[in-house]
Amino acid sequence: MLRNSPPGSADVATLERKATQLRRHMLTMARGQGQGYIGQGLGIADVLAALYFHELRYDPHNLAWPDRDRFLLSTGHYSIALWAALAEAGIIPVEELVTYGADDSRLEMSTLDTTPGVEVIGGSLGHGLGQGIGQALGLRLDCSDARVFVELSDGEMQEGSTWEAAMSASHFELDGLVALIDCNGIQADGPVVLKMEPVADKWRAFGWETVEINGNDMKAIVEALADARRRNGKPRAIVLRTLPGKGVPHIETSEKSHFFRIDVAQWDGIIAEFDKSMGAHQ
């Protein structure tokens, strides 16, 4: 069954429920090993829900379909969010999620493209956008209207290769390419270590049609993605201001949010609180 074709088949409330489900999966995964990059995952849950259940055109039963839209997760360590989305999309079994980060699991803490649904090896930051450009060029040569969505992060903008890629994407007029820039304000050493602002102006200066939104506001995400369907000769950048740990207060406020490790009892407490609060909302 083809998903989201034409795009825009789900409403905002449905997508918000999907995002909640993705967050619930991520908590299950992190509890399994007691650790993970869950802050980042929770932060981009809304974007992934919008992509996989609204915007991306793909066939979960034919992952090699040449005309599928591609989603490249450049930040491989956000894998916890991707596994949640791929499970919810029916590409990997939901029951497998508990193996996240375990020895011999396909659901690595950083993505490898041997896992079904993974378009690119992420994790060596600065790799995703250039590979997305290559895919967009290849699709154009094949006269395909499929689009390429590349997620990258604010910290990743410190890699020079990000800007090599940004410059060439506008040169090649890749208007089927959408960069989703997750600005969550953190990186390995803590809060972003360089002055990154103004982020949106940087992308505009490199020739990208750029919009900046609250990356945890489903309505804003859906609208920005809808606008990015319009092709005008320019690549699209959507600057997403996201909150690490979004939806789980204990993680939102944690100073450890780049990599999160707590004991099982604490995870159980967090999950119970999450379920209770979701129950109250539904």
Binding site: P66, L112, D113, E119, V120, I121, S124, G126, H127, L129, G130, Q131, G132, I133, G134, Q135, A136, L137, G138, L139, L141, D142, G160, S161, E164, A165, M167, S168, H171, F172
Partner: protein, 331 residues
């Protein structure tokens, strides 16, 4: 681009170089010609460069297939990443730059964006070793060593125009990432038409019993010339040409070593990590005890200068090979 007539002692202009010694017939831009020819039947081949199209001989392909050619500018990491993305859509990208940039600058991309996923990208890299007078910034003296460490990457160091043509066709057929050294401009013809190239296969070009030269790249031309000269001194020299550094033809090397009393390795590359290391590893593992003399570049960066001057100074010409081998054999 002229490959000949370079005055010793003069630093070369950017487009000039002299890949190999003089006296032989040459072919202009054998790589670009071969790629353009293949492009007619292979619609999946695309060309890329990072602002070195002119200097890596890929312009014949660009001129024949402008829609399938992408110049990403001076950005070698992006060159490799974009090539990887194209490969993921079923294209067979040939990406050109200089060896120094493909290795030192873009190494993580070659390793992770290409080799880790076994993507079907061919990196064709100009200015191997001492083929430019531009000094350490442009001389890829350690590229074979760096690239052979990358799992799954095929590494090729062709000798002449004939082999470049054949190897271009072979790597286009081969499924997987490749790093090929490029001799550009007017490239001498050493091998006769009909020479066949097979990835991973060494070729015994000359039989001999005193000394066996195991050579790669343009050093094979010098090895053949040296063997001819040494025959006049009654020294019998065999030559094994090893154009594929990885996968390495261990069987051919060990068999060849068994037929001679002394081995000389000859490479346009530092003496560590490349051909010499591979030969020694192969012989040691096979339990074959032979004295091995290494000819290659020393453990230092090389200065600027005219190519023939540098090649003579660092022992990469026929005369140096002859002198070394003469010294090995008791009079």
């Amino acid at each position: 681009m002229s490959g000949g007539g370079i005055m010793a002692g003069r630093t070369l202009a950017m487009g000039q170089d002299e890949a190999v010694g003089g006296g032989r017939q040459t072919v202009e831009a054998p790589f670009g010609q071969a790629l353009a020819r293949l492009g007619h039947s292979r619609h999946d081949i695309v060309g890329l460069t990072a602002d070195l199209g002119k200097y890596t001989d890929i312009l014949p392909f660009r001129d024949a297939f402008p829609d399938r050619f992408f110049n990403v500018g001076m950005a070698e990491q992006n060159l490799v990443a974009v090539a990887g993305g194209l490969a993921r859509t079923g294209k067979v990208p040939f990406a050109t730059t200089y060896g120094v940039f493909a290795t030192r600058r873009a190494y993580d991309f070659v390793a992770i964006a290409l080799a880790h996923s076994n993507l079907n990208v061919k990196i064709v890299a100009g200015l191997p070793g001492l083929t430019t007078g531009y000094g350490g910034t442009h001389q890829a003296i350690e590229d074979l060593a760096l690239m052979r460490m990358i799992p799954g990457l095929t590494v090729i160091d062709p000798c002449d125009a004939t082999e470049i043509d054949a190897a271009t066709e072979a790597i286009a057929e081969h499924r997987g990432p490749v790093y090929m050294r490029l001799l550009r401009g007017s490239v001498p013809v050493v091998f006769e038409p009909g020479y066949t190239f097979e990835i991973g296969k060494a070729r015994r070009l000359r039989e001999g019993s005193d000394v066996g030269i195991i050579a790669t790249g343009f050093m094979t031309e010098r090895a053949l010339d040296a063997a001819e000269a040494l025959q006049r001194q009654a020294i019998s020299v065999g030559v094994l040409h090893v154009p594929t550094i990885k996968p390495f033809d261990t069987a051919a090397v060990t068999e060849f070593a068994g037929s001679v009393s002394h081995i000389v390795t000859a490479e346009n590359h530092v003496m560590v990590g490349g051909l010499a290391s591979l030969v020694v590893e192969s012989l040691f593992e096979a339990g074959i005890a032979r004295k091995v003399t290494r000819i290659g570049l020393p453990d230092r960066y090389i200065e600027c200068g005219a190519v023939p001057t540098l090649q003579a100074k660092y022992g990469l010409n026929t005369e140096a090979l002859v002198a070394t081998i003469t010294g090995l054999v008791p009079a």
